[in-house]
Each structure stands twice: as structure tokens, then as C-alpha cells.
């Protein structure tokens, strides 16, 4: 046990990077998912086409290839420099965002049409319709699949170790090379990843409860005062 504890501080340094990449990745993947999902539903054909191409390309290739391409190839083509953190976060969030786009699209299409019609009848502008009527209802349906995607994102962050970022997986390899205590190291690392996934699961469950507040008509529970969502 003492042996196990001695590796922990080094591995926790890696956890910090993993958490950083995951949190940044979450933010950007939601942005890409919204852009992709709304783009697919746009009235303008070029926008729809562009969003479709983005989604299919990023879903059709491998994340690792995307990450290497962004980190090694992209800077050469355009003569610029990308930090490993930037390339890693961008590749992960564009990849997860492509899958998320389909979630966003599906959730928006699932909002009953009458809601949009009612909003038009109430003289809401298109952006008001989206922000105040459609999205708040779509978010309820988006959250569970997004929770799964965020866990996929966390798992994907292990790949940044291959473009030199010192995340948890990278640190594990370093400690392994130094000490050779492979069983202990990789067991701790797997457990640490599991704990982080579980934290995401709990977080998403909490959000699900929050966004569905006031929507559980027919359930015998004290109804809290509905709060505006998002």
C-alpha cells in the first residue's frame, strides 16, 4: 500500500492536466455541437452542407489521426505553431462535437412543432424562439446522451499523451519507465479515470434534475418554483 501511495503525487500532477483538457474539451465540444447541430438545420443550403461535411469528416476518421493531423500537419500547411494543449483540445472537442451535433439536431427536431408555431404566433423573433422556447426544451433530451459523450471525451484525453502533453496517461508511462511497478501504476490510473468518469455521471445527473424541475407533471412530489433554464 505504501508503495502505491508513493506514486500518487506524481500521478496527481497528471490528473490536473487531464482535468484541464477535459474541462476545456467539454466547453468547446458543446460549442461545436451547437454550431454543427444548428448548422445542419439551417435554411441556407451552404451552411447545411458545411455542417454536414464537418460532422461526417470528424465522425468518419479516427480521433488519433485528427489529433496528429492538427498537431503535426496543420501547422506545416499554414506555417503556424499550435501548442499541444491547443491541438489536443481542438481535436477532441471537434470530434466529440461532431457526435454532439447529431444529438443537438435530434433533440431540436423532437421538440413539438406546435411550440415553434406558438412562438411565431406570439411574435417571437427567430433567435428568441430558439433561445427561449426550443433550446430549453431540447436541452432536457440532450443531457443524457451528452453525459455519455463527455465520458467519451474524458477517455479520449488519454490520447493527448501521444502528442507530448503530460496528462495522467503520460505520467503513468513516465513512472512506469522509472520504477517498473506496472501493476500498481496502471491499476491506480484506471481507478483514477473511473473516479473522474463517475464524477461526470453524477454531474450530469444533477443537471438533469435541475433542467427537468417543473416539468415532472403528474409526479407526486412537492413542485419547486420553476426556474428559468439555461
Amino acid at each position: 500500500m505504501a508503495e502505491v501511495l508513493q506514486f500518487l503525487p506524481t500521478l496527481l500532477l497528471g490528473v490536473r492536466v487531464t482535468v484541464l483538457v477535459t474541462v476545456l474539451g467539454m466547453i468547446f465540444s458543446v460549442v461545436f455541437a451547437l454550431l454543427g447541430g444548428l448548422g445542419r438545420l439551417s435554411k441556407r443550403r451552404p451552411v447545411r452542407w458545411l455542417a454536414g461535411a464537418y460532422i461526417e469528416v470528424f465522425r468518419g476518421t479516427s480521433v488519433l489521426v485528427q489529433m496528429f493531423w492538427l498537431f503535426y500537419v496543420f501547422p506545416r500547411l499554414f506555417d503556424i505553431e499550435l501548442s499541444p494543449l491547443f491541438a489536443g483540445v481542438l481535436a477532441l472537442s471537434m470530434n466529440v462535437g461532431a457526435y454532439g451535433s447529431e444529438v443537438v439536431r435530434g433533440a431540436i427536431l423532437a421538440v413539438p412543432k406546435g411550440q415553434t408555431e406558438a412562438a411565431i404566433a406570439c411574435n417571437f423573433s427567430p433567435s428568441q424562439r430558439l433561445r427561449r422556447i426550443v433550446l430549453p426544451q431540447a436541452v432536457v433530451a440532450m443531457l443524457p446522451p451528452f453525459g455519455n459523450l463527455m465520458i467519451e471525451l474524458l477517455k479520449g484525453t488519454a490520447l493527448v499523451s501521444l502528442i507530448t502533453l503530460s496528462d495522467l496517461t503520460f505520467m503513468a508511462q513516465q513512472v512506469r519507465a522509472l520504477t517498473g511497478a506496472t501493476l500498481q501504476i496502471f491499476t491506480i490510473v484506471l481507478v483514477l479515470y473511473f473516479v473522474m468518469s463517475y464524477a461526470i455521471t453524477l454531474g450530469v445527473r444533477f443537471l438533469e434534475r435541475r433542467v427537468s424541475v417543473g416539468r415532472d407533471v403528474g409526479r407526486h412530489m412537492p413542485q419547486p418554483i420553476p426556474e428559468p433554464v439555461a
Binding site: 468518419g60 489521426v65 496528429f68 506555417d79 477517455k155 488519454a158 501493476l183 484506471l190
Partner: protein, 225 residues
């Protein structure tokens, strides 16, 4: 030779044509890993799905825990685990064996969820009828439930086969020279990475996209009308 940046040739068609055959040779390893990994994932997933529904909690709970744990942790770390830890216990696996095992077990936890959905879609009356006919547990599964559950989940399983195909580049991290590993080798040997990585990306897209389209059609055809 087309685009230029900073006076340096960025994309050379000649070089691309020169390395393409090497990538295609390595593609065979990619296919091998995909096929073997899928075979494992598709069979083991079914076993996991059935065990998870066991009446005995001593079976269903550990199996459920295993599925959750494997699903929640990165495949790359699991591959390292198989490749670096097992030799300590006298079980040295080649990169390919560890890769197929890792890929197969990881995706078995996903396919088990697919099978679960399929099994839950079988009407309860079918189980009751099997009981009424005094069918054994084994006959109920193999003769009644699974033949109805499996055909419906074929497209979903296909999607995971494609997902596995796209995950094979991770095997390069445990010394397997599949297509991506080959590109990486070419890139570090020649200091030209633009052609190699771009071609690998294009090949992945070219191979997976038609399969995706095919599966979508299959899915649409199997969908309840």
C-alpha cells in the same frame, strides 16, 4: 507538387504515390485487428449481456461492475495494462494479441448494452410462453429470445465494428504497425508528415463512410414501420 509555404514544398504528389503502397500493406494489419477485435466484441458482448441478466446477483453484480469499469476508462490505458502488466505475471502478449484483446473486451462492454436493448425489446409474453412450454433456460435463450433479439440489433453492432476500425490507430502505441503506425514511421523516417497523415485520414474516411451509409439504409429498412 502544389501548395507552398515558406518556400518549402508542402504536398508532393510523387511522395504521396510512393508511400501509398506502404500504407495499403499496413491496412491489412488494420483490417486484421478490426475483424478479430469485432469477433471478440460481438461474442463476448452477448455473453456479458446474458450474464448481466442472471437471476443470481453473485453473477449479475460483478458483471455489471466490470462493464461499467471498462466502459468508463480509456482504451489506451487498458492496452498499456495488457501490454505492460501481464508480462509481470509471466504472460507476454504480442502487440497484436494485446491489441485485439483490448479492443475486443473494451467494445464488448458496448455491444453488451446493444444486446441488452435487443433482449429487452422481446415481448414479455415470449418469456412466459417459453415457461408455459416448459422450455429449459438454455432453450428459452437460444430458441426463443435471442433469435428475436439479435436481428434487430445488427445495424447497431455494425456501427461498433466501424468504431473499432477507427480505434485501431491506438494499437500503434503498443508497437503494432497498422496503417497509422506505418504513417508515423514514414513521418519520422523522412521528416515528411503532411502526405502520410493526410492519406491515412482520407483512407479512414473513404473506407468507413460507405459502410456508414450502408448501415443507415439497413437501419431504415429494419426500423419498425
Amino acid at each position: 507538387m502544389i501548395a507552398q509555404a515558406g518556400g518549402e514544398v508542402v504536398w508532393s504528389w510523387e511522395f504521396a504515390a510512393e508511400i501509398l503502397p506502404q500504407l495499403l500493406v499496413a491496412l491489412r494489419v488494420t483490417f486484421q485487428a478490426t475483424v478479430l477485435g469485432s469477433a471478440l466484441a460481438i461474442t463476448l458482448g452477448l455473453v456479458l449481456a446474458v450474464l448481466r441478466r442472471s437471476d443470481s446477483r453473485a453473477v449479475s453484480l460483478p458483471v455489471g461492475g466490470f462493464i461499467e469499469f471498462i466502459r468508463s476508462t480509456p482504451l489506451l490505458v487498458q492496452l498499456y495494462f495488457l501490454f505492460f502488466v501481464l508480462p509481470q505475471f509471466g504472460l507476454t502478449l504480442s502487440g497484436m494479441t494485446a491489441g485485439v484483446l483490448g479492443l475486443g473486451v473494451h467494445y464488448a462492454t458496448y455491444t453488451s448494452e446493444v444486446y441488452r436493448a435487443g433482449i429487452e425489446g422481446v415481448p414479455k409474453g415470449q418469456w412466459e410462453a417459453a415457461t408455459a412450454l416448459n422450455l429449459s433456460n438454455r432453450r428459452t435463450w437460444t430458441g426463443v429470445v435471442l433469435p428475436q433479439a439479435i436481428p434487430k440489433v445488427v445495424p447497431a453492432l455494425g456501427n461498433y465494428v466501424i468504431a473499432m476500425f477507427k480505434e485501431t490507430p491506438l494499437l500503434a502505441a503498443i508497437t503494432v504497425i497498422e496503417m497509422f503506425g506505418q504513417a508515423d514511421r514514414i513521418a519520422s523516417r523522412t521528416f515528411r508528415n503532411v502526405e502520410a497523415f493526410t492519406l491515412v485520414g482520407l483512407l479512414f474516411l473513404l473506407l468507413s463512410y460507405p459502410c456508414v451509409l450502408l448501415l443507415r439504409r439497413l437501419e431504415a429498412r429494419l426500423a419498425p414501420r
